[in-house]
């Protein structure tokens, strides 16, 4: 029943089964919330950029504040060279943020609570950043694994550690977001279940916990989107400004 805190993460088909070759690309509840989040972003930012008044309306202010927020985040972490990647990081941040936030509405599905989604995003970032690094610096990008000022004796060990840490970037990036979202939602479900099982007499304590957790989870939803975007910026910074 709904008491299982993991059922909220189940993916199910909406509509008919669509198959392309051997692959099942049916429209699911996860797809629905990806579409909903993207549409919400597009609608809000379209409204926010439609007309330019000297004194911005609320929605215009929202769009412009988001723009300057992300733009400042990128220029602070990755410098001016990262400007061409602004739209990608902006889309990424907004997509993750909106997916997280839509997940906070009861009875919705949290797209980012699925490891496959976050891993695809993280892997795309990882591969993209690596390609950018090799394009900008050629084989010199490998110097990233050889920190300067390290004693020659330690160098083999350090290089191995650096390579492992570099390769684990997509995993840590994806698991961080996925685990945070899953853990938060599971916990809220667990406390919700306690409210039901403890009833009118004892349910108030877990209910108040649930309320507090909702606030915390909204914070986490924003924070994880921010962390995801800022780590992307940091990886991009490594690829653009190679200094070790």
């Amino acid at each position: 029943m709904a008491a299982n805190p993991m059922t909220q993460f189940e993916v199910y088909r909406i509509g008919p089964e669509i198959k392309v070759g051997a692959f099942d690309i049916s429209f699911t509840n996860a797809s629905l919330f990806m579409v909903v989040s993207s549409l919400a972003i597009l609608i809000i930012f379209n409204l926010g950029s439609k007309k330019n008044s000297l004194l911005p309306s609320k929605i215009q202010l929202l769009a412009e504040l988001s723009y300057t927020f992300v733009s400042k985040m990128i220029s602070d972490t990755a410098g001016s060279k990262a400007k061409p990647y602004f739209s990608f990081i902006f889309s990424l941040f907004m997509f993750v943020l909106f997916c997280n936030m839509f997940g906070m509405i009861p009875y919705t599905f949290t797209v980012t609570s699925h490891i496959i989604v976050t891993f695809v995003l993280a892997a795309f970032i990882f591969i993209g950043v690596t390609i950018i690094g090799f394009i900008k610096h050629g084989l010199g990008y490998l110097k990233l694994f050889v920190p300067s000022g390290v004693p020659i004796v330690l160098l083999p060990l350090i290089v191995v550690i650096e390579i492992i840490s570099y390769l684990s970037r997509p995993i840590s990036l994806s698991v961080r977001l996925f685990a945070n979202m899953m853990a938060g939602h599971t916990m809220m479900k667990v406390f919700g279940g306690f409210v039901i099982s403890l009833g009118v007499v004892g349910g108030w304590l877990p209910l108040s916990f649930s309320v507090a957790l909702t606030g915390l989870e909204i914070l986490v939803a924003f924070l994880q989107a921010y962390v995801f975007a800022i780590l992307t910026c940091i990886y991009l910074n490594d690829a653009l400004n190679l200094h070790h």
Binding site: N4, T7, L42, S49, N52, Y67, I116, A183
Partner: protein
């Protein structure tokens, strides 16, 4: 710290619940690869469309809006600055004009006063001169009259004396001796008769 406790709680719950519901469901739905391809496909599609629309249509507009606002505000500030400067210049000009005109008015007033004073002085002097002249003239006339009077009186006195002497004594006395006496008398007592 709070977060750590939360996560421990969650972990505890996961273990606890997994045991309870193990039979009901197959663990974490996230690890079920049934819909992975579908999720990857839809993620690529939606995120791709989102990225393209944002980067091609919406973000340039927002950036243009921001730039436009920035330049507009800058322009407005510059215009305000210019107007302030011009108004300050005008104020200065105005003050200059006022002080200049005040000075001019002062000068005009002073000049007019001096002119009037000069005129008054000149008129006074001419008048004084006229008066002096007239007084002198009159004095001269008086003096002349005075002189003439004493001489005439002397003459009359001499003639009268000679007539009297002729009548009294019957002989003619020399006129010159009489006139000497009369002159002497008039010199000694003249002041008594025609005193000033």
């Amino acid at each position: 710290m709070i977060k750590k406790i939360f996560f421990q709680l969650v972990f505890f719950n996961l273990f606890f619940l997994k045991g309870v519901f193990a039979a009901e469901s197959g663990g974490m739905p996230q690890l079920n690869p049934e819909f992975w391809i579908s999720q990857i496909f839809w993620l690529t599609l939606t995120f791709g469309i989102l990225y393209v629309v944002l980067s091609k249509l919406i973000l340039p507009k927002i950036s243009a809006n921001l730039e436009l606002r920035k330049s507009q505000i800058q322009e407005n500030i510059e215009a305000a600055e210019k107007q302030r400067e011009s108004s300050e210049a005008k104020l200065k000009e105005y003050e200059d004009i006022i002080s200049k005109s005040k000075l001019e008015a002062n000068n005009i007033f002073k000049e007019a006063r001096e002119n009037v004073l000069k005129e008054i002085n000149a008129k006074k002097e001419t008048l004084d001169k006229q008066i002096d002249e007239e007084v002198k003239k009159v004095e001269q006339e008086i003096n002349l009259l005075k002189k003439g009077a004493s001489e005439k009186i002397n003459k009359i006195a001499i003639e009268t004396t000679s007539e009297l002497l002729v009548k009294l004594i019957g002989t003619e006395v020399n006129n010159s001796s009489i006139s000497a006496i009369v002159d002497d008398l008039s010199k000694r007592n003249g002041n008594k008769y025609y005193g000033n």
